[in-house]
């Protein structure tokens, strides 16, 4: 019976091919969006996990460039119980590397972060220091020294000892760090004073503090204490960020699911329509089969098998298309898109399910045909 079913699909080749691509695209839409969303999550969570301390900024500031605070408050925060170290930081965008302008894009962006080399020495959990893979981190007495992210090292072909020009100031590369995500490996860490000159901040002012605590689990509580003492500051631990981010990401997720749902629905309607059409065209044949002794169930299964085959082939095509698009997207995007087997399995199951469901109603209709009437078509 499967042979007849596949022949029937072969009969209208173009229609079948168009439909298969329809299903394939629906599946790719689903797999692509879901992979994208789960990769965003993974990337952000990985990035957040690498921040174990607390970030202190001016109240209401979205990010470092919008925040200015007094460097001397660092000592006061350091005196809070459980706080082990406060690292004042200054950061900004890099507009030129080695005399070349950087195009404005998420992918190519480079920023600098200034840290006091004296404090850097004592850091234990700092994301950049923690992830140094080649050379060393900043140490007391460093001037014109830079620790750069792996992506910059790759993009600009820098090694330990290379010179790198940042906004027309020359630095010597002393270390390279790699956090595992390209998104985070685009920074240049330089001594605080030089960063202050580049950012144009007055003496005694910084953008924010990186606060290390004795027990990372208490980071959130300590952040609360800092805000109580300095109401003019915002203090956030990575778990606070994660919470905020989680809300945003779940909204993105819902949106993606809705879009994927629409894609799947369209695929389903496509199958339904195609099978309906092909059933209507073959009323006479079903009548003949019934006359030859096929039962109504036999006819129904024939149609279900056809649509099942459509779903199955559409699913296979969808897997290939999905894999290709995930790979392609991964190459273009600033972070890696993971080809999650679970998402792929779901996509495949959806295609097969679409096939069966899309064929169910036409199959039922075909089985209800009166043989004598259908044959006279």
């Amino acid at each position: 019976m499967i042979k007849i079913a596949s022949r029937n699909l072969y009969r209208k080749k173009l229609r079948t091919i168009i439909l298969l691509f329809g299903i394939g695209i629906a599946v790719t839409g689903f797999v692509g969006l879901m992979s994208f969303s789960s990769s965003i999550k993974t990337t952000f969570h990985e990035s957040l996990e690498s921040i174990q301390g607390i970030i202190v900024m001016q109240k209401g500031a979205l990010d470092y460039p919008f925040s200015t605070i007094d460097e001397k408050d660092a000592d006061k925060i350091e005196r809070i119980k459980s706080v082990s170290l406060v690292v004042p930081q200054i950061s900004g965008m890099v507009s030129e590397v080695d005399g070349e302008k950087i195009p404005f894009s998420l992918e190519a962006a480079v920023s600098f972060v200034g840290e006091d080399p004296e404090k850097a020495e004592e850091e234990k959990t700092g994301m950049f220091k923690h992830n140094v893979v080649l050379g060393r981190y900043l140490k007391p007495g460093d001037r014109n020294a830079a620790v750069i992210g792996k992506k910059i090292a790759d993009d600009y072909k820098k090694k330990i000892g290379s010179r790198i020009e940042i906004n027309r100031r020359s630095f010597r590369v002393v270390g390279i760090y790699s956090s595992g995500t390209d998104l985070m490996d685009t920074m240049v860490i330089i001594p605080l004073d030089q960063a202050r000159e580049m950012a144009g901040l007055p003496e005694g002012k910084v953008n924010g503090f990186y606060v290390e605590v004795e027990d990372p689990k208490k980071a959130s509580a300590i952040a609360g204490v800092i805000e109580d003492i300095f109401p003019e500051y915002d203090a956030a631990s990575s778990s606070d960020y994660a919470e905020e981010l989680g809300t945003v990401l779940s909204q993105i997720d819902t949106f993606f699911l809705a879009v994927a749902g629409i894609a799947i629905l369209i695929g389903g309607i496509g199958i339904l329509n195609t099978i309906m059409m092909s059933v209507a065209e073959r009323r006479k044949e079903f009548g003949i089969l019934r006359a030859m002794g096929w039962t109504d169930d036999n006819v129904m299964w024939l149609v279900v098998e056809e649509s099942f085959l459509l779903g199955l082939s559409g699913g296979v095509l969808g897997m290939i298309m999905s894999y290709a698009s995930v790979k392609a997207a991964s190459a273009v995007m600033p972070f890696k898109i993971i080809a999650d087997p679970t998402v792929f399995a779901w996509g495949f199951c959806i295609a097969v399910l679409l096939g069966i469901l899309g064929g169910a109603y036409p199959a039922w209709r075909a089985s209800r045909l009166e043989p004598v009437i259908a044959m006279k078509d």
């Binding site: 007849i4 022949r7 003949i288 030859m292 002794g293 096929w294 039962t295 036999n298 004598v372 044959m375």
Partner: protein
Amino acid sequence: MIALENVTKVYKVGETEVHALRGVSLKVNKGDFVFIVGPSGSGKTTLLEILGGLMTPTTGKVVIDGKEISKFNDFQLSMFRRDRIGFVFQSFNLIPTLTALENVLVPMIPQGITKKLEKRARSLLKELGLGHRMHHTPNQLSGGEKQRVAIARALINNPVIVLADEPTGELDSKTGDVIMEYMRKLNKEENISFVIVTHDTEYIKKSDKVYMIKDGKIHKVTR
């Protein structure tokens, strides 16, 4: 072995009732070669459809091989058609996507095609002179060849009776003669009963079992 007792069939076409059969009684014995003639709209096809279990009569009894098929439900009728009946139609009614051999096997697909069945299908096609056309699809066959495939298909299940509705109607007279000859031969050699609806008087002349249907009533034609 096949008996129709006072069978009537009433169709509803909109508000009006059409009496296709008005009390038909008929007996067909094993090995009979029966012709049914009559003008169009006389109820010939309806009679054939009731005999073949494609529809049930409004009143009356249809008994085939001791079974009262007029009381069968849809599933029982399907099984009955599959196991006992062979149909041959005027317009061949082959499945266009399948080869001659596959078309012959079509009735048996739901229960599974065995090697034995395939062998039978091949030998039927050979017997009907189509040994070299087995893997051709219907659009590669002539009218006469198509009808021979249809006859082989009607015989695949070893039917007790073959019901043919104008089997030569779409063929030229020479090809029609050949088809009729094949059916005669099968009737004589294998003792298969045939009921053939036709309007071709040439064939009737040679037969002694001819019935005439007119206005839903049947009469034996005597000469």
